[in-house]
């Protein structure tokens, strides 16, 4: 800039021009810009009490309530019994159904079976045949019928295994008392690695942390961009000596950082401390993976923020996408249960299944870098693609419309 004023006050007029720093646009400048924008983003997050509350709530109480609430453990079964034998053995079997496995045992007549199961009042119905005890004592093979409402998927399969085991055990005990020793030729003992008592909370708490990382990173980053677009501040940034990639990087890093800190604290304080879930592996390795993952989903947030033109649209857009990502990630039900083609699609498109696999390996099984490097690689690759795509959209939307 040449001295604009040669008139009234030349000293004052040219002075300002010189005070402006020359144009250093090296790598250092970019880093400095990104750093300052990150500080700005962090201040913005701090100034938004609703978002902060959401982050804190999601990583504390929500994790706790999900872990202690929703459960696929088999308990509180409702069993109906049609006892046509009315013998010691049949009474012994019935009295073996106790809480917490069984919530209530309802005596039934055969005619009552269908209505009770049709209305969903009972999930299991056992029919103890007449002459059950006599047949056992005389060593005659006999059958106990177990009807299961197979629409209750979480209970039907495992619940019927438990009920079978209880019946078998009571029959065996009865037989033993009657001197009919049951000689099991082999003792099969099952032991679960990583979670000996198969407590659901160990699983759901950590998966909830993961789901929160996805949910909050996408919402926080997308909302931060839309807020800037709605308030017009993004224009302000763009007339400054900044390039779009700096603005986007700052958003991605700042929001990712907040979520990462939240996730780390949640894991140590809530999951390990409050819920008492042991963590087998290295938390730093998990957080490293989480960092890569957060960058990838933050880029997704930016992408969605460029597609939606208002917060309302963003909400409509983000809910189905988040649900899809979560449901098809292997954090709800096992990946192997999905059709093979879907597994391939999901693993190609979404970073979430890779992160879920990494988290399960590191946190439960104590796996190290040598095991999870493929996941880290996949996260990096998908993250880069997302980032490049988001940046292209960001440039086009911010400049082009």
């Amino acid at each position: 800039m040449a001295g604009p004023a040669q008139g009234a006050k030349p000293a004052q007029a040219t002075g300002p021009a010189r005070a402006t720093a020359p144009a250093p646009l090296g790598f250092g400048t970019h880093v400095a810009n990104v750093f300052r924008l990150i500080v700005k983003e962090l201040r913005s997050i701090r100034a938004d009490p609703v978002m902060l509350f959401l982050v804190v709530y999601a990583f504390t109480f929500a994790v706790h309530s999900v872990a202690s609430g929703a459960s696929t453990e088999v308990r509180n079964l409702t069993i109906g019994v049609v006892d046509e034998d009315r013998s010691d053995l049949s009474r012994q079997i019935v009295s073996a159904f106790n809480p917490p496995l069984v919530k209530s045992v309802v005596p039934l007549t055969p005619a009552e079976i269908d209505p009770a199961m049709d209305t969903g009042r009972l999930v299991f119905v056992i029919e103890l045949p007449p002459r059950l005890q006599k047949d056992v004592l005389s060593g005659r093979p006999t059958q106990v019928q177990l009807g299961v409402d197979a629409t209750a998927m979480t209970q039907a399969g495992n619940g019927s295994v438990y009920i079978q085991a209880i019946v078998a055990q009571e029959v065996a005990r009865f037989a033993a008392r009657s001197d009919l020793t049951d000689t099991a030729p082999v003792q099969v003992v099952t032991r679960a690695k990583f979670n000996p008592n198969l407590q659901t909370s160990w699983f759901t708490s950590v998966m909830q942390v993961i789901n929160n990382i996805t949910l909050l990173t996408v919402i926080l980053t997308g909302a931060a961009l839309i807020r800037e677009r709605e308030q017009g501040t993004v224009e302000h940034l763009l007339v400054m000596p900044l390039v779009p990639v700096e603005i986007m990087l700052a958003k991605v890093i700042a929001n990712g950082l907040v979520i990462l800190v939240g996730a780390g604290l949640s894991l140590v304080v809530v999951v390990e401390g409050w819920l008492g879930v042991p963590i087998a592996g290295s938390i730093p390795l998990f957080l490293f993976g989480a960092g890569l993952y957060a960058l990838a989903v933050a880029a997704l947030g930016i992408l969605l923020g460029t597609i939606a033109s208002s917060m309302g649209q963003f909400g409509l857009l983000v809910i189905p996408i988040l649900l899809l990502m979560q449901l098809l990630s292997g954090s709800s039900t096992p990946m192997e249960s999905m059709p093979f083609w879907l597994q391939i699609v999901v693993q190609t498109v979404s970073p979430t299944p890779h992160f879920v696999a990494l988290a399960q390996a590191v946190l439960y099984r104590g796996a190290g870098l040598s095991v999870v490097w493929p996941q880290l690689l996949a996260l990096t690759a998908l993250g880069s693609v997302y980032f490049a795509f988001a940046l292209a959209r960001f440039r086009r939307v911010i400049f082009g419309v």
């Binding site: 919530k103 199961m117 078998a168 990583f194």
Partner: protein
């Protein structure tokens, strides 16, 4: 004309949180007159008008309008048909995707007019306003002036006796503004009894009114006829008179703007040089072949209405928008190719306040100082200097949100000049700022230009500001009509004032002779005046009062309009139809409790025929997929750790021998417990296999007699194959038909709050019931269509047939979606923004639907509060209907009770929303 008051306010106060908008105001508004309420933004004008219109709840004091107390609902409902209210903002009561005709038609329907009456009235109004050629154009694609004319048509469709207009001409070009007032004038000529109350921030419009009320800070500072006010203050124009009417302490802050002469300079390279700039958005040309040059140190003004291309031109000059054609140079450098050096030379202030409202004043300044790379030692000095110069020191730790507009604009200017740019580009920097603050702002601009040689390029629609510029450019519809000094332009056209000069140019551009343009305005006005009078009104206007409590025509008006809007919004339509299908597929495949393909491996340390027989028992299971055997305990550990094995059987050495000798050897089966449900299920498989194996051994060795005598025969009812999807698909239908319809209907109401069209509900006779049900019906329809689609997905993608009564399913679904859309409306009564509505509805519907309605845990297994929550919401009652008809094959009779309960829920939510929805704003 009678001097009776059409509206009387007695000791009216109104607060928004800590801010008092009106402070103990008492006032009479004369009837049959055109009353102007004048004052800058934020003095309480809009609140006053809203209270008179009955769209805002009275907090304190008494408001009497049309002879009745506006605090009484009966009076308001009775008189709503006599009042018309046009809210502030360009086309705030319009629906942008609806055409001009459809917008007016909707308003006509709200007043119960028949088809032929509507057609006649709309034709009259459109002819009078000159909108008739644009009948089919969507309201969103109209210019500001046309939007306001359309709004006026909507307000006048029912021949009101009291017309309330809140800043109808803000942001409208002077020609359209003139036409607007002519139109009002002629309508009044045709209906002399009609009273008009207008709020305006343009002081120069004030002289058009018959009676003025000047407001400041929630108080009336003067009222009377314009002549009277000018005489009282002995000022030549209304702006000066208004300043003179302000309390003395405010007047003391005011110093007149003194224009200093521009020092002569050598203009070798112009500061801005635009040549043939053109910018298109699709087929729309926002800026059309614009050329101008601005010299260094000049104050150059862009004058024009909203949407005429001022902002777009400015954005192209700052490099924010790429240029479609032409070129722009700043200080001789072409703009746009990411030239950081140019950016350093420019300070920009956008139209709306666009600094970070979440950062304090000081933090905003610091951020910009850093991003412009001011040397670190210079930063605090420069910031301190700016804080003092722009009088921001006292508010430096405040957030901009809490500051008045005038101070915010000063902050924006401080930020724009922070890096000492040689040029400032300011987009309507004084819009909405009060006259005193505006003059103060201009003094700083003049200092910057004259003392520091800063080039200033600004846009405005205030004529008195335009007169202060060195040169101005008149812009309209993307084109520059004229460039020159204000005096030159006036002289060239031979106009009486700059405003008249601009109007002449606009008329030229519109292809009208200026004289006839003026006359045309009057003539069309006279036509309009003749319209309502000459028209053989089916009944005198007063005789169409609001008679019925319920009018199906109004309900239908809302249902019809909602459907049209919805069909024109691709994002919502996609969400409504594609959303459920995608989610159904994802849920169907994603939530599966089928455990198969478990990676199984044997750690056989015995390797005898007996042990191999045991291993075979496992590998033959269809649930397991065999992996290479394990050879050591460390390998077992490692393979579990890297996930290549999920289930392993460890057979001890000497297994075969122990078995032979009947010593019951112990076999350990290891499971991967990382996913408990999967492990639990695999344990079930293992138990089954072990029993089978033991049984087989016993049969082999001891004969059938000693085999276990009691076997448990498990029969999986309703779903013999025990496929997850058979159970999941019906449950997911329950989840999706609450999630999507509830979000959609919640948004439908909150959207109107956000865009402002809720004003139509507040100011017309439509009842809450008509509004709610009218808006709900389209969503029930959409939900039923997506139900149909979901059934098709169930049948053809997942192969899950409907075994039971389809009638029960359809009827149950109808009541269920009525209930869930009602649930969404119920939530919307608490929510203010669309995001909040989306997330709150999603949370409130997903949690109970997933956890407490039988999707994961059967309701029969729930107890206590979980059961109570479940049973108090519709999903728990609908799940048995879907599960019953799809998988259990139940007949209608078995589900009657559930269907009745669902109908009850639909009614309940309608009643609750009816109770909670407020017809008036707080």
């Amino acid at each position: 004309m009678s001097d009776a008051a059409i509206a009387r306010l007695e000791h009216v106060s109104h607060r928004y949180g800590a801010v008092a908008a009106l402070d103990d105001l008492s006032l009479d508004l004369p009837a049959g007159r055109m009353v102007g309420v004048i004052g800058p933004d934020g003095v309480g004008k809009s609140t006053l008008l809203a209270l008179v219109a009955g769209v805002r709840r009275i907090q304190a004091g008494r408001v009497t309008v049309l002879g009745g107390d506006m605090a009484q609902r009966r009076h308001r409902t009775r008189e709503a048909a006599r009042i018309a209210y046009m809210p502030q903002g360009l086309g705030r009561n319009l629906y942008p995707t609806l055409s001009v005709f459809e917008n007016i038609d909707f308003h006509g329907r709200l007043f119960g007019q028949g088809a032929s009456e509507r057609r006649r009235r709309i034709t009259d109004l459109l002819t009078a306003t000159g909108l008739d050629p644009f009948e089919d154009r969507p309201a969103g694609k109209l210019s500001g002036g046309m939007k306001q004319k359309l709004s006026l048509c909507c307000a006048l469709i029912h021949d009101p006796d009291l017309l309330i207009l809140d800043e109808p001409t803000t942001g409208v070009d002077p020609l359209s503004r003139g036409q607007f007032w002519e139109l009002i004038g002629s309508i009044r000529a045709g209906r002399p009894g009609m009273s008009v109350i207008v709020a305006t921030a343009y002081m120069d419009e004030a002289s058009r009114f018959e009676w003025l009320i000047a407001m400041d800070d929630g108080h009336v500072i003067a009222s009377g006829s314009p002549v009277d006010l000018l005489a009282r203050t002995a000022k030549p124009d209304m702006e000066a008179a208004f300043i003179a009417l302000l309390p003395p302490e405010k007047q003391a802050q005011h110093r007149p703007v003194v224009l200093k002469p521009r020092p002569p300079r050598l203009d070798a390279v112009p500061a801005i040089e635009a040549e043939h700039l053109t910018r298109r958005f699709g087929s729309f040309t926002a800026v059309d072949d614009v050329s101008f040059r601005i010299a260094r140190g000049e104050i150059f003004g862009f004058l024009g209405s909203n949407g005429c291309g001022k902002s777009t031109t400015m954005k192209m000059l700052t490099g924010l928008l790429p240029v479609s054609e032409g070129s722009a140079k700043l200080f001789g450098h072409p703009v746009g190719d990411n030239d950081m050096e140019t950016r350093r030379n420019v300070g920009y202030m956008s139209q709306a306040f666009s600094l970070y409202s979440e950062l304090t004043v000081l933090q905003n300044l610091e951020l910009h100082a850093q991003l412009y790379h001011l040397p670190p030692h210079d930063r605090p000095v420069r910031i301190k200097e700016l804080l003092e110069r722009y009088e921001l020191e006292p508010v430096k730790n405040a957030r901009p949100d809490s500051l008045p507009l005038g101070i915010k604009q000063r902050l924006q200017l401080a930020v724009a000049v922070l890096h000492r740019p040689a040029m400032l580009i300011l987009d309507e920097p004084t819009s909405g700022v009060d006259p005193i603050a505006r003059d103060a702002f201009w003094r700083t601009l003049i200092d910057l230009s004259r003392d520091e040689g800063v080039t200033i390029f600004l846009s405005t629609h205030f004529m008195n500001e335009a007169e202060r510029c060195d040169r101005i450019s008149l812009m309209h519809a993307g084109r520059v009509l004229a460039v020159g000094t204000p005096a030159e332009l006036v002289r060239e056209r031979g106009s009486s004032s700059l405003e008249q000069c601009f109007i002449d140019y606009l008329a030229d551009a519109a292809g009208l002779d200026p004289k006839t343009a003026e006359k045309a305005g009057v003539e069309t006005g006279e036509e309009a005046a003749a319209g309502p009078d000459a028209a053989p009104a089916p009944a005198p206007p007063r005789a169409v009062p609001h008679r019925h409590r319920f009018d199906p025509r109004r309900l239908w008006a809302y249902a019809r309009r909602e459907t049209m809007e919805l069909l024109r919004d691709p994002i919502r339509i996609a969400f409504a139809f594609i959303g459920p299908i995608l989610l159904m597929i994802a849920f169907g495949y994603g939530i599966s409790f089928d455990v198969e393909n478990l990676r199984f491996s044997a750690f056989d340390q015995d390797n005898t025929p007996e042990s191999r027989q045991l291993v075979d028992a496992f590998t033959s299971s269809r649930y397991f997929s065999e992996q290479p055997p394990i050879r050591s305990a460390t390998e077992l550990d490692r393979r579990f750790r890297n996930g290549s094995v999920q289930i392993a059987v460890e057979i001890p050495p000497r297994f075969g021998r122990d078995l032979q000798s009947g010593r019951a050897p112990e076999v350990a089966v290891w499971l991967d417990g990382a996913m408990p449900f999967r492990a639990e299920t695999s344990r079930g498989y293992v138990t089954g296999l072990a029993n089978q194996y033991a049984h087989q051994l016993a049969v082999e060795r001891l004969g059938t007699d000693a085999a276990t005598t009691v076997s448990v025969e498990t029969r999986f009812r309703y779903n013999q194959a025990f496929r997850s999807v058979n159970a999941m698909v019906p449950s997911v239908m329950m989840l999706l038909l609450i999630l999507i319809p509830a979000i959609m209907s919640a948004i439908a109401v909150v959207r109107e709050k956000e865009t402002g069209s809720i004003a139509n509900f507040r100011s017309t006779p439509v009842t809450k019931f008509e509004f709610l049900l009218g808006k709900q019906l389209p969503y029930i329809g959409i939900a039923m269509i997506s139900f149909g689609l979901l059934v098709l997905v169930a049948l053809f993608v997942f192969d899950v047939p409907v075994k039971g009564s389809f009638a029960a399913l359809a009827l149950g679904t109808l009541f269920y979606v009525s209930a869930t859309t009602g649930f969404g409306q119920f939530i919307s009564t608490f929510m203010k923004t669309q995001v909040a509505a989306v997330f709150a509805t999603a949370l409130l519907s997903i949690i109970p639907a997933v956890n407490f309605s039988g999707l994961l845990v059967p309701i029969s297994s729930l107890s206590g509060s979980a059961r109570l929550i479940g049973l108090s919401l519709p999903p728990a009652w609908y799940q048995p209907v879907t599960a019953g008809t799809f998988t259990k094959g139940l007949p209608f009779s078995e589900l009657e009770r559930n269907i009745v309960v669902l109908a009850g829920f639909a009614l309940l939510f309608l009643i609750l929303s009816q109770l909670l929805l407020r017809k008036q704003e707080a």
